[in-house]
């Protein structure tokens, strides 16, 4: 993306033909370029998944609407969920991890650069495979084009009998392929963080960003692999006539649920822990204070990682498990609120008494704190099994997890985009447009997802393509859909800001935020070798030490 990322004289670069510059991008093994490829790829899918969400909401704006057919509606929510989880949030987080971890730990690249490129292209082709289903999945019977089995694809809906044609195969293969990419990236992140740190950067002196991404990578290893195994079983069932999930031959549909949610719940933490990582870097810098309780933050993250492996069946309370199982999963679900609460208090304590600068990244992180708290509270409500029996499969669930993913993760992500955009592009973003984006998006978010809880409590099930008038759901659904347009407008302003700032923005300089981690010590954008000489660090805030030689951090840590 950046013209001098190759560290060649500008003249020479400008004269190189487009084809050979493109060739550089396609064959790159540089962690920064791969990071940017991940992020751009995710932005494309964000727009696609966003359009799907908009069409879903237009269909539901009033009772008995017929904007899309029921069949198309099923495909839309399946594709929306799959796209957003696997081809937007995961790649964009991997992109930031790829770009920032080597810079933050003072390394010149990831541990395995070629594995890194392989992982990116696996993920990229996974996404293409999913959308190729629109062209290639018609099958023999003309039944279905895009996958329509829901993003968790419960058995036996995915069996050959109920899912004819090839749409489910495309879904399975897309997730399998991108899963290999995710595992490759996770292996790479773990090896990079443990083996590539610059001299002096002990584990206790790493930026929290590196710590949290290390935990995330561990979770990917333990969570995505079961999904891979389950997808292999589904392929065996569909192609080789196996009976894993075939109830007619004694197979179990419930075991698919277990296998899927053994992946599915840790996956939430795979997505949210990097969001915590963004907040843990942005909040201290804009509060002008070091992070409060660094060791506790690390400990709480590891605790979240462990507990998140033992809560999956709270997605299955309505299936009918034994009361012992119900109790276990209620208690473990409640327990995970403790380390999460600790983190929220630590961020607040970081801001407490700080000289807070309300720049766009900080605005998004503050909104994240409040929204993530509410998302956690509705999570505890549904974590209580008896209450979940009433709310299971309702719009309350949809509102809850969108509160986590949009209100928590996406807000942090926007913060991260604005915070690191100057580093990645060398240009400053437009602060006014950033604020417009923030206010449009926060209004849209609350209109949509606050009010979505209510029809859920009133009994509106998820995944219905239309509803009867006069059930008390009409007004709420209308408000929810109106909010979507605010969010869409916010996203357009965001993309416009990125484009405008990239071409017309002011030069940002190497350290626009007066920040403390190593990525701000090199040029913006960083040269291909990152650091001319490998830095040596003595504390958690190496740039603070550099800027304040009379009062360095390492005297106190």
């Amino acid at each position: 993306m950046s013209t001098d990322a190759l560290a060649l004289p500008r003249m020479e670069l400008a004269s190189r033909p487009v084809v050979s510059r493109l060739h550089d991008w396609v064959t790159t093994v540089d962690h920064k370029r791969l990071g940017i490829l991940y992020i751009l790829y995710a932005l494309v899918f964000l727009v696609i998944g966003g359009i799907e969400a908009t069409v879903i909401r237009i269909q539901l704006i009033r009772p008995h609407n017929d904007f899309v057919s029921p069949q198309v509606f099923n495909r839309l929510f399946t594709m929306h969920g799959t796209t957003m989880i696997f081809f937007v949030v995961m790649p964009v987080l991997f992109g930031f991890a790829n770009y920032l971890i080597p810079l933050m730990i003072g390394a010149r690249d990831m541990a395995f650069p070629r594995l890194n490129a392989f992982s990116f292209w696996m993920t990229a082709f996974g996404g293409l495979l999913l959308y190729f289903s629109l062209v290639g999945a018609n099958g023999l019977y003309g039944a279905g084009n895009a996958p329509d089995v829901g993003w968790f694809a419960y058995a036996p809906l995915t069996s050959r009998t109920f899912s004819v044609g090839h749409s489910t195969d495309f879904w399975t293969l897309a997730l399998l392929v991108s899963g290999f990419g995710s595992i490759g990236t996770a292996v790479n992140i773990i090896a990079t963080v443990l083996c590539m740190r610059c001299p002096g950067m002990t584990l206790a002196k790493m930026p929290l960003f590196a710590w949290l991404n290390l935990v995330m990578a561990g979770l990917v290893i333990l969570a995505v692999s079961p999904l891979t195994a389950a997808q292999i079983m589904l392929l065996v069932d569909r192609y080789l006539g196996g009976h894993f999930f075939d109830t007619q031959a004694g197979g179990s549909a419930v075991i698919w649920m277990h296998f899927f949610w053994v992946f599915g719940h840790p996956e939430v933490y795979v997505l949210v822990i990097p969001a915590f990582a963004f907040a843990s870097e942005i909040i201290p810098v804009f509060s002008r204070k070091p992070i409060f309780g660094y060791p506790v933050m690390v400990g709480a993250t590891i605790a979240i990682g462990f507990i998140s492996m033992s809560v999956w069946a709270h997605h299955m309370f309505t299936v009918g498990m034994s009361s012992a199982a119900n109790n276990f999963f209620v208690i473990s679900t409640m327990a995970i609120a403790v380390p999460t609460g600790i983190k929220i208090f630590n961020w607040l304590a970081t801001m407490w008494g700080g000289k807070i600068e309300f720049k766009t990244p900080m605005l998004f992180c503050i909104a994240f704190l409040f929204q993530f708290l509410i998302a956690g509270l509705t999570g505890i409500m549904q974590g209580a099994a008896p209450f979940d029996w009433h709310l299971g499969n309702s719009y309350f669930v949809v509102a809850h997890f969108h509160y986590v993913i949009v209100g928590g993760i996406l807000f942090c992500l926007f913060g991260a985009f604005y915070y690191w955009f100057p580093k990645m592009s060398g240009k400053m973003y437009n602060e006014t447009l950033g604020r417009v984006h923030f206010w449009l998006f926060i209004i849209g978010f609350h209109l949509t997802f606050d009010f979505m809880h209510i029809p859920g409590l009133l009994g509106m099930p998820r995944r219905i393509y239309t509803y009867e008038p006069g059930r008390g759901w009409d007004t709420w659904n209308f408000i929810v859909t109106i909010g979507v347009f605010f969010q869409a407008a916010g996203i357009l302003v965001f993309l416009g800001n990125l484009l405008w700032s990239y071409f017309r923005g002011k030069a940002a300089g190497s350290d626009p935020w007066d920040a403390w981690t190593l990525e701000w010590s090199t040029n913006s954008p960083p040269p291909v070798y990152n650091f001319a000489s490998i830095p040596v660090v003595k504390s958690r805030r190496p740039l603070w030490d550099l800027k304040h030689p009379a009062d360095p951090d390492w005297k106190y840590e």
């Binding site: 541990a111 395995f112 594995l115 595992i183 996770a186 292996v187 790479n188 773990i190 090896a191 990079t192 443990l194 083996c195 590539m196 740190r197 001299p199 002096g200 990578a217 290893i221 333990l222 969570a223 995505v224 692999s225 079961p226 891979t228 195994a229 389950a230 292999i232 079983m233 065996v236 069932d237 080789l240 006539g241 196996g242 009976h243 894993f244 031959a249 004694g250 197979g251 179990s252 075991i255 296998f259 053994v262 040596v536 003595k538 390492w554 005297k555 840590e557």
Partner: protein, 198 residues
């Protein structure tokens, strides 16, 4: 942490990090273990739930000889690595070839067992739940043996062309970690399929 220790000149800073090859391989092994865990859980969950025959106790016999082959290949690969670290490339080549032979023998064992099950006992992956879980779990392990053998054969080719030197000992050790993993998984698979599952 005292300030004096940190005031030392940077040149004296002792800075050691773990080998990225080993850490990467351990992470991969963790991921593979998670995949195998799911298949093992499925196998155990479906033990005795097949609606029609053939049943495991009628058709399965523990392959003791081939198990000994695979497990002893862990020993031979260990000796191979030891020889390479000492710079004895010829001795390494001999142990390495023996490892490949033992691995190939194991695969032959699996192949002949499958041939017998399919053509004599009429058990395929679609016959019943036992067939589905058995061929998936044993097949997944067999697939890992095949991948391992391909990697071992690549190293063998380098050895034969004289490209392998003492300085490659670390990389060869990382590869043998994978092979040890494949052998360890077989102990689990053997226990699940031939001991508990019957």
């Amino acid at each position: 942490m005292t300030t004096t220790s940190l005031m030392l000149p940077q040149t004296e800073l002792e800075w050691r990090l773990p080998s990225r090859g080993r850490v990467g391989m351990y992470a991969l092994i963790a991921a593979e273990s998670a995949i195998f865990t799911i298949f093992v859980v499925a196998y155990l969950f479906y033990v005795g739930k097949s609606l029609a025959g053939p049943m495991p106790r009628d058709v399965l016999a523990p392959p003791f000889f081939y198990t000994v082959c695979l497990l002893s290949s862990s020993l031979t690969i260990h000796f191979a690595g030891k020889a390479l670290r000492r710079g004895k490339v010829r001795s390494f080549g001999a142990w390495w070839l023996l490892t490949i032979t033992l691995g190939a023998l194991f695969l032959f064992g699996t192949a002949s067992e499958w041939h017998r099950l399919i053509y004599r006992d009429g058990l395929t992956i679609g016959t019943n739940l036992f067939g589905t879980t058995y061929y998936s779990l044993v097949g997944l392990h067999g697939f890992h043996v095949v991948v391992g053998l391909a990697c071992l054969a690549t190293v063998m080719a380098f050895t034969l062309f004289g490209a392998l030197k003492q300085e490659h000992a670390e990389r060869v050790d990382v590869l043998s970690l994978y092979w040890h993993f494949v052998d360890t998984v077989w102990i689990v698979v053997f226990t699940v399929v031939y001991v508990i599952g019957r």
